[in-house]
């Protein structure tokens, strides 16, 4: 496959691995921020191919995992309303709310539809004027432009029956949160290539300054990840802490200015609760007042009780890289993808699910 096969070349992979081995002289902990990178690491078996000095720590960049419980409960509540069509990205459907997930809401008769693009939700709203169409707009900066565009489109079309249930989160504050945690010891970061495709690299310079850690903007194919790791290791061994761009074939220094314009037309930065973690200041987007009619949290009076997370789930420690999934006492026991205690066991990008599926630690699956 063009533009992919090139980045999965086994010979080049070997060379990168050798180069990492040749460069590394001491133990380093590197966090891959994005769940897509976690997925690539485990799916391609990279973790076991790395020299023992390099430990990969899986970061908080799984949008499914960090979407707060009460928001999932809200989505489920909306989905079960008679006149609502709830549209969502696929992997949100299995994430547990406090009593059920969206798949179960669908089974109970909720009109829940899996979409790839929020723009399709706008089309559904146009085609179903007597229904309220709500798009569950989750994700990092990557999905924000398309979600914003859906609101802009609905606004321009004068649609009264379209809204988004937004739960956008931002990468740089999450890195800051990880670095501020006394229990986490991260030496360097692979930043999320697709987030930077939208936002550019400028937000990372202050982090590098403040925490003296290398941050390498990295892609998702095996060779991308290996090269990103090599670049971080080279910096660490040379006592450098800089922002570098491994994913230069996609990521421009300034990012995608058009996309940023769309984001800030519709959204403004706000404090955001991260599931399993805490409220991180200025770490998410909310819909601006101008577009309040398209904000499902304002449009619908959703009164549900604030639910408690399952106390047995250690998602927070996992997402900050303090613990590995296998260090959780319930991993593969009480907590399995078929019966997850927390979100990281659900999404294919969740660290726990990735370990569960690909590590062979649990025999019966």
């Amino acid at each position: 496959m063009k533009f992919l096969a090139e980045y999965r070349d086994p010979e080049l992979a070997k060379q990168y691995l050798q180069e990492i081995k040749n460069t590394v002289t001491q133990p380093w902990s590197i966090m891959e921020v994005c769940g897509g990178q976690t997925h690539s690491l485990v799916k391609n078996g990279i973790i076991d191919m790395l020299p023992k000095e390099v430990t990969m720590i899986h970061g908080p960049g799984c949008p499914v995992c960090v979407t707060p419980l009460h928001l999932i409960d809200k989505a489920i509540h909306l989905a079960l309303q008679e006149n609502v069509i709830l549209c969502s990205f696929g992997d949100m459907l299995r994430v547990p709310g406090s009593s059920k997930n969206l798949l179960e809401a669908k089974a109970e008769g909720g009109d829940v539809r899996i979409l790839y693009s929020p723009l399709e939700a706008v089309q559904i709203a146009e085609a179903n004027p007597s229904k309220e169409v709500v798009f569950f707009a989750v994700g990092f900066e990557t999905t924000a432009p398309a979600n914003a565009l859906s609101v802009i489109n609905a606004y321009r079309k004068g649609l009264k029956n379209y809204s988004i249930l937004a739960s956008h989160v931002l990468v740089p504050p999450a890195i800051e949160c990880v670095m501020e945690d006394v229990d986490s010891h991260i030496d360097g970061f692979l930043a999320a290539g697709h987030v930077c495709t939208i936002m550019g690299n400028f937000e990372y310079y202050p982090l590098v300054e403040k925490y003296k850690v290398p941050i390498v903007v990295t892609g998702f194919e095996p060779l991308d990840v290996l090269q990103g790791i090599l670049m971080v290791v080279r910096q660490l061994e040379a006592h450098k802490a800089e922002v570098e761009n491994q994913y230069a074939r996609i990521v421009k220094e300034e990012g995608n200015l058009e996309a940023q314009k769309m984001i800030f037309e519709v959204f403004e930065i706000t404090d955001r609760l991260w599931r399993g973690m805490e409220i991180i200041p200025m770490s998410g987007y909310q819909v601006k007042e101008k577009y309040a009619d398209f904000d499902a949290t304002k449009k619908f009076k959703i009164e549900i009780e604030e639910a408690e997370e399952n106390p047995e789930c250690i998602a927070g420690e996992i997402m900050k890289g303090i613990k590995k999934p296998i260090e959780c006492p319930e991993f593969g026991k009480k907590c399995k993808p078929t019966n997850p205690l927390g979100a990281p066991m659900v999404s294919s990008e969740g660290a726990c699910a990735a370990y569960f599926h690909y590590s062979g630690l649990v025999e019966e699956y």
């Binding site: 990205f89 992997d91 899996i114 993808p337």
Partner: protein
């Protein structure tokens, strides 16, 4: 849920007789005049054979020796998809399940559960596909049933087929015959059927030329059995759950280890790209006209060559082997040489956010 799907071009393969109704209504499943009208409209003519023509409560058939018997229900949405429709799928599915037992499929039962409102032209097209699929596979529909449910209680049409066939005398297909060293051969490109369906499903439509691989495999299988007999240890078709799920099921059931290699997995570029775009793993995507063989290592090369000379096996590949290590587990070597476990999915494969 209302379904609005990308239309798939439908062409009537047989002229439809003139009828005084355009859509199927509840009355067509009542057993009364309308049912008879529907059946007499051509169902019996289309599928006509001596046994069916008896039109008794059940079929009178005669068979000798060891038999295989299988059943399957078909609920694909949309019912017409690139490369086929639910009718031929229902025939091929059961025919192939029998073939995987080493049987020569002979008779089928055919049951429809129709949602009222189904267009008669669509039903006719499905019926003609069934007719042609039966002819191609050399099987006869000998008994059947038609029920109609209210609008909203079905998804246009559900079909159940059961089939029966005689086990080929040279066949000895059994999970317990699998042994360490066996070679694992997949008969063609993986994931085509699932992605063909996905490409026309509401909300996920994308432009592609991916077509379903649905076809009957019984002739191919019988030829292989004639040629290689008991050296074929197991045959299985990786339909729902894809290649990964069947391999894992076999590893679990037989307590053997399985090694496969990503670089040998045959997949069409378009299908591979579509899976990439949607964030789906082709190893878990459904197949229809595909089968996996576990064969004695000493005949594997000959078997592969023989299979590749068959139209249903042109893209066949040896993808791995049965090993002593890691019992109950399937391990795949990734394209870059890393290793990972292949496990079952907790449910339907869901497209990823980004």
């Amino acid at each position: 849920m209302a379904s609005k799907t990308k239309p798939v071009k439908m062409q009537l393969q047989c002229p439809m007789p003139k009828l005084d109704f355009d859509v199927i209504t509840l009355g067509h499943g009542s057993g009364g005049v309308l049912t008879n009208k529907l059946l007499d409209s051509g169902v019996f003519d289309l599928l006509s054979n001596e046994v069916l023509d008896e039109r008794h409560d059940g079929a009178f058939i005669e068979m000798n020796g060891k038999l295989a018997f299988s059943t399957d229900s078909f609920l694909v949405s949309p019912i017409f998809f690139p490369g086929g429709n639910i009718g031929e799928l229902a025939v091929n599915g059961t025919v192939n399940d029998l073939a995987m037992c080493g049987a020569i499929p002979k008779y089928l039962s055919l049951s429809f559960i129709i949602e009222e409102g189904l267009k008669m032209t669509e039903f006719w097209e499905i019926l003609t596909s069934i007719k042609f699929a039966c002819e191609k596979a050399g099987v006869q529909v000998v008994t059947g049933d038609t029920k109609v449910v209210e609008k909203g209680k079905g998804d246009k049409i559900f079909i159940n087929t059961s089939g029966i066939g005689t086990i080929h005398p040279k066949a000895n297909i059994n999970k317990n015959n699998i042994k360490i060293g066996d070679k694992i051969i997949v008969s063609g490109n993986i994931a085509s059927h699932g992605m063909a369906i996905m490409s026309v499903r509401e909300g996920l439509e994308f432009d592609s030329e991916i077509i379903s691989d649905t076809t009957n495999l019984n002739t191919t299988i019988i030829n292989l059995i004639e040629q290689f007999g008991a050296n074929i240890h197991l045959l299985t078709d990786p339909t729902r759950g894809g290649v990964a799920t069947v391999l894992k099921e076999i590893a679990m059931a037989t307590e053997i280890g399985i090694d496969i290699f990503q670089k040998y997995l045959p997949i069409e570029t378009q299908v591979d790209s579509a899976c990439e775009l949607l964030g789906l793993d082709p190893l878990y995507v459904a197949n229809e006209g595909l089968f996996i063989s576990f064969v004695e290592a000493s005949i594997a090369d000959d078997y592969l060559k023989y299979l590749q000379s068959d139209a249903n096996g042109a893209n066949a590949k040896l993808i791995g082997s049965v090993v002593n290590e890691h019992p109950k587990q399937v391990i795949m070597e990734s394209a870059i040489g890393g290793k990972r476990v292949v496990s079952m999915l907790p449910g339907e494969q869901l497209p990823r956010i980004c």
